[in-house]
Symmetry: D2
Subunit: 108 residues, 4 copies
Amino acid sequence: MNSQYQACIEACSNCAIVCQTCSTACLREDNVKMMARCIALDMDCADICAMAAAAMARNSEFAKDICKLCAKICRACAEECGKHDHDHCQECAEACRKCAEECERMAA
Amino acid sequence: MNSQYQACIEACSNCAIVCQTCSTACLREDNVKMMARCIALDMDCADICAMAAAAMARNSEFAKDICKLCAKICRACAEECGKHDHDHCQECAEACRKCAEECERMAA
Amino acid sequence: MNSQYQACIEACSNCAIVCQTCSTACLREDNVKMMARCIALDMDCADICAMAAAAMARNSEFAKDICKLCAKICRACAEECGKHDHDHCQECAEACRKCAEECERMAA
Amino acid sequence: MNSQYQACIEACSNCAIVCQTCSTACLREDNVKMMARCIALDMDCADICAMAAAAMARNSEFAKDICKLCAKICRACAEECGKHDHDHCQECAEACRKCAEECERMAA
């Protein structure tokens, strides 16, 4: 493990999973229509978080660039999820904020 | 989080990262030529592990099928990595075996 | 390009894109609730198709196993999408059937 | 299909495949050691190209940001691959340049 990246890799891996979980839970809500942007952002956020974790694990030359973009997408996903009271949305917002902080530190 | 899958999701997420780390470390070894199959299997294993973790998090209808294939690829990667004395290969073999066991339990 | 796989790689790459397109279009339909399983299968199908295309391009030892699973998921997605009259669902069903056929030939 | 993105989606899908093909072909060269950075960049480039194609197909809010980063990674991969005379490297360099141009146009 590239130990300097470990906290950020873990935050990204976790956020990817939590976003996937949130997207599925949103699809099962009665008010799916209201959750459409949340689902769309969950999909973007899951993708970039998984990619960021993989790039850091490979010690990629572009790890910082990828983490910078990951932080931006996490912030948007946290803001949208944070608007909804569902537990899965609140947990997702929290995971996204944690991941954004780690990625911002990494990219600095 | 789909709690029934939690141990397997964690094993898959971890294995994906450890395989990416091993592929990069193998590329930096002096005897890269000897590590070619290890690198190739690391790439397959990282891909299927990330996909399995995502599918379980989404509570996918195909989670068991994907985990069954994930276990098969993890077994092959563990066997190949296990042949090499490098620490990153031994750690990867261990993560692959752990992930294979969790995936086999999941798919059963 | 591994020319023996070319038709299957193209079918998988195309199907991955068409499934992503369909998932977004479903999220914008008025009757999103009715489209929930379609969206979920689109996500599974997009993931395995992208992975199958990548594995064939890498000439992976597991290309046949991955294509076999890809065909199974494509068949399920084609069946679900085929039930909906939206153009994006009908196009997705068609791309999934085409991809399933190529993957079944590949895995044979 | 989101027709305004079609040329860029196709360039990204193609580049992802060509990078995977190049990474495997590099691993089979006698002088693998010399190809290590090429393989590493192929992996980064394949990942971001696949993600960019998927994000455009989903009409993601972040499609432009992702394409901007994709163009940057494609330029680096094209430069490295362009140094090597192997056919697979020259073909990869060409696919990366084409993809970078389309992504730059998209992100503008």
